[in-house]
Symmetry: C2
Subunit: 610 residues, 2 copies
């Protein structure tokens, strides 16, 4: 049996009932993807994820990736390589390709549902491979004629790609990167430097690898210089190739010089890469433009969402595995039952129900939050096809990204470990069940593409302060409007809780805004920054709660309307919204009180006092 | 350099300043252990833990325990076996031996500090080996003359011991155990059955292993029967032996038939054990008394505390490793600093400070809570030596055990993973640093010796309801008294927070007591049990906060009094108490509000709605 359990019912509920995608699919640029096609895609994706992609999930963890220092080459575990190759061939990645190459326009909200299932089934594979369409898009959008041709070659020949940013002394501070690029007479550049934490930096999965590398041009007037602004983006192939045919040529001077040993996602090779040590690392400037960090961020935005989806997908299958175990495992009598009573399935014990409901609420709340954000991408795509930039959808999307990345990664890891794993008792600690691997594989999600601390700062200083909170206010206005839902009248208590939570989060933002100040001041900004991570978690908590209550409202209306299908699911949806409001949203006002009590002491404390 | 960093300064502060142990050490039964000897013991223990025991910490994780099914034997990793053998020889375990055997009476509060350091250095070793003195004590206290002699042999010959409770279908519900014991004509018993999750069930560390096994007597009138009440405790040696000399004889019919593959503590062998499959498993009834569960619980009580200490010790060294990294790692400018500013050590970033303070506060709060509980053991030992049973100390100790086990294990794992590991950025995910192993090794602490759900039920139904909350009220009265401290007048805000937290927890207990009811009722008890885990976490949160504020008060007084030593440490102590009150204790009233909103819906929901 597959370790991976998809949740198609919830996915379809979100798309069709909660987020009204039937009014969007099959229209405008999504003309070819009506709800019927979407349904087929989702069913097929679930089948592929569960029966194909999931098969090497455990093997990739047990049989390690290996590194041969003599040849600077990385080998993937056999079963894992086969599954990854199948995924690369399967066509699922085409859903994310730019319209100009794939000749189809898939609604992003639909594509993210497919991605969720692939990540849930075998995270280490799509976590690396799903970057391919983004690099193809970048080369297509920004590349010169030759580079646009490379984009096609990557697709045709199934080449792998990488994002190469981090250096040993440039992690959170990308702008500290020292890899340098020297221009050559023939228009190419030679790179020199060492990069770290490069996902799929080397492997034996594909015949070629196209690296996208941030480096600092030297010796050219008007470009380069310190900070992120001085970085340019270069294309560096593992093997040189013929731009027309793709036929491989000489090996380029980019070498894997180390392999990291990690807590989880051990199937995915994380490499140290050295540029230009033995032979020149020949590189091409992307689009002949020195706009490295801006270009790279087009991919990073996608990958931050990908990481949040990965975490949510793990919690979703973690919950469904825990649920299956709790239904099956018989242990202990019910509390207060007569002495002669038979033992029951542990799902009938209160504390196990509390634990399962916690898992269910967060998994489904995060999925709703992610797909709500994906609908902003739907809007952007529709508008773009009409030559319009939908600024409001863009701002909402940008606002949600750090929340999705930070909140989903922190929450999924915690709930998987505290609740899903513990549902299994001691067995949860064993490799007999997938949960302990889910926990290890998910821990990294709080780290890469920016730690939670970085996401919190990005959220507050870039996504809230820069537009004076306009995007956030629009989101909160939408929440406030729906806190008024409940024509059915069953959610009185929960509506009050939601209102109080909205007020609390709004006050947090005012408080931090006031502390942050309008001009730069070390003391003020450091005080505000004590609570930016807290604000991120609070906003994630609120957004999930809002969407879970909207879901409950929609479900209640469907039941009231006499829905014959999925009645148990809908009843569960109502209970989930109510439970989360009562047991999670209720805590937000206390978070505000704690923030109010933050003061300068923490920042002023001498280092030696720690 | 050792991965393990002890915190002697904080340990000594707790013992001498916070818990006033200099008025107890060197007196009464602890006559031979004055504060000077205690100081020497602590310094030596820290040295041994850091330089000896810690050495095979990583090896034991990388080179696995192996199982040979043909010979039913388990082999420990080489480096790990050497360290474990050294620890067994070192004499540190003698601190916990009963006075009658070791001829010394070590204050339990002192002994737990030593245990903390050993667990922090290489948890998998003391987590198994520290059970030896407890089994020796049990044999000595309850055994017949021959069994008392066995207790001495275990010490003299460095034999290992085990606790054998769990079966495949009897985990949380120990009373469902089916291993049966049949009486023999010679007074021995033969056991038949399969046990699971047996820590150090087999290995090549010691020449013999003495198993303590719960089994159900059959065919004898008046004993046996269903549930935990029908279980007796049996002594089952791996090899038969001469009771006088200890010389080994034939192999007994108890065999390791499997080895578990775990997420962490992989050096510690966890075995499936089969009794009486090929040859009879000859067993001796402990003390000729059928009192299995009661006897076993004398050890379980100790081990539950051990598990809490293990978790706290991991967080403590996790924090100190993160602190060292944060001092060393230079990355990024300070917020609000001029553009030309140099990058700073990450300890100067607000969010890193918040994270470090979170780690420090929980690690030190949990240590204080554990040592406060250990002082109850000091009181019990002093009274016992005078022939008195100190019922109040006993009740306080029993009340604190599930809190220590449940709260420390949940909190340490979460804070290690969310904060300590993340302080290292992506490097935290690598095996280059000890943190990722701390996280894996600590996850098991929420599981063994009863999951957190079981601890919550034990706390509420046994430790609070059975004495009508008397022990808890005494603890709360002590807290309320100290919430009145602050002659120094600097803790006004925090005193209010503590008062509100005390009131909230007291109301939680009233609420659950009312829901629980006086007679058994399935609906009422199931409703109360939705929040027993929450109550446990709230009580742990409160107790840590109370002791951190007491510590802050003591530290402030020492500074005010002109203390010349450890002034930075004392300043940090004041800041830690204040920070925890402001950022953690403030949240307890909201927990109460959430509990008030619990209702029957969760328990009444059909299984299919999950």
């Amino acid at each position: 049996m597959s370790h991976y359990i998809s949740n198609l019912t919830d996915i379809k509920f979100d798309l069709l009932e909660l987020l009204d995608r039937d009014s969007v699919y099959g229209t405008g640029v999504f003309e070819d993807f009506g709800t019927d096609s979407a349904d087929t895609v989702l069913n097929e994706a679930a089948r592929y994820a569960e029966t194909k992609l999931a098969t090497s999930f455990a093997d990739a963890d047990r049989e390690s990736v290996t590194f041969d220092a003599a040849t600077n080459s990385v080998r993937l575990p056999t079963a894992y390589r086969e599954t990854a190759a199948d995924y690369l061939d399967s066509g699922w990645l085409d859903l994310d390709l730019p319209h100009e190459i794939s000749e189809q326009s898939v609604p992003p909200s639909l594509s993210w549902c497919v991605t969720e299932m692939m990540l849930g089934a075998n995270a280490a594979i799509p976590q690396g491979l799903n970057v391919i369409p983004q690099v193809v898009r970048l080369l297509h959008d920004h590349g010169n004629a030759q580079q646009k041709q490379w984009a096609k070659l990557i697709v045709e020949r199934n080449w792998m790609v990488t994002m190469v940013l981090t250096e040993p002394d440039a992690g959170s501070d990308v702008g500290a990167g020292r890899t340098r690029a020297t221009p050559q007479a023939d228009g190419t550049w030679h790179l020199e430097g060492v990069k770290r934490f490069i996902t799929y930096g080397d492997h034996d999965l594909t015949e070629n690898i196209i690296h996208l590398v941030l480096a600092r041009p030297e010796g050219v007037e008007g470009v380069g210089g310190p900070g992120t602004g001085g970085l340019s983006l270069f294309v560096v192939p593992k093997f040189h190739f013929d731009s027309e045919t793709g036929a491989l040529g000489e090996r380029n001077g980019v070498l894997a010089t180390g392999l990291e040993h990690k807590m989880g996602i051990t199937g995915s090779p994380t490499c140290e890469m050295t540029f230009g040590s033995d032979a020149p690392a020949v590189a091409w400037l992307l689009g002949d433009q020195h706009a490295g960090i801006k270009q790279m961020f087009e991919i990073i935005k996608h990958v931050r969402m990908l990481v949040g989806v990965k975490a949510m997908a793990a919690l979703s299958t973690g919950y469904l595995n825990a649920r299956a175990y709790a239904l099956d495992r018989v242990q202990g009598q019910q509390l207060g039952a007569p002495h002669s009573s038979k033992p029951v399935s542990i799902i009938d014990h209160s504390d196990v129900r509390r634990s399962l409901m916690t898992q269910k609420a967060y998994a489904e709340g995060m999925r709703a939050m992610i797909l709500y954000t994906a609908t902003q991408q739907d809007r952007l795509a529709q508008a773009k096809s009409q030559g319009i930039h939908d600024a409001e959808a863009d701002a909402c999307h940008q606002l949600m990204l750090p929340i999705i990345k930070g909140f989903c990664s922190e929450t999924a890891w915690r709930v998987l470990g505290q609740e899903s794993l513990q549902t299994f008792g001691g067995s949860g600690y064993l490799k007999d069940y997938p949960i302990e691997q889910y926990v290890r594989d998910t821990k990294v999600d709080t780290l890469y593409e920016g730690t939670t601390g970085i996401q919190g700062l990005d959220l507050f200083s870039r996504k809230i302060m820069r537009d004076n909170g306009a995007a956030l206010e629009r989101l909160i206005a939408e929440m406030s409007k729906t806190s008024d839902f409940s024509e059915l009248g069953t959610f009185g208590e929960e509506r009050e809780v939601l209102d109080a939570a909205i007020t609390a989060v709004r006050e947090m933002v005012s408080l931090l805004t006031e502390r942050w100040g309008s001009s730069t001041d070390k003391t003020r900004r450091s005080l505000a920054a004590q609570d930016t991570t807290g604000l991120l978690i609070a906003l994630g908590t609120l957004t999930c709660g809002w969407l879970l209550l909207r879901s409950a409202d929609v479900a209640a209306a469907l039941i009231e309307g006499g829905a014959s299908k999925d009645r148990d699911f809908l009843t569960g949806k109502v209970a989930t919204g109510q439970w989360y409001a009562r047991h999670v949203l209720t805590k937000l006002p206390a978070e505000l009180e704690a923030m109010k009590l933050s003061d300068a002491q923490l920042n002023e404390l001498s280092r030696d006092c720690f």
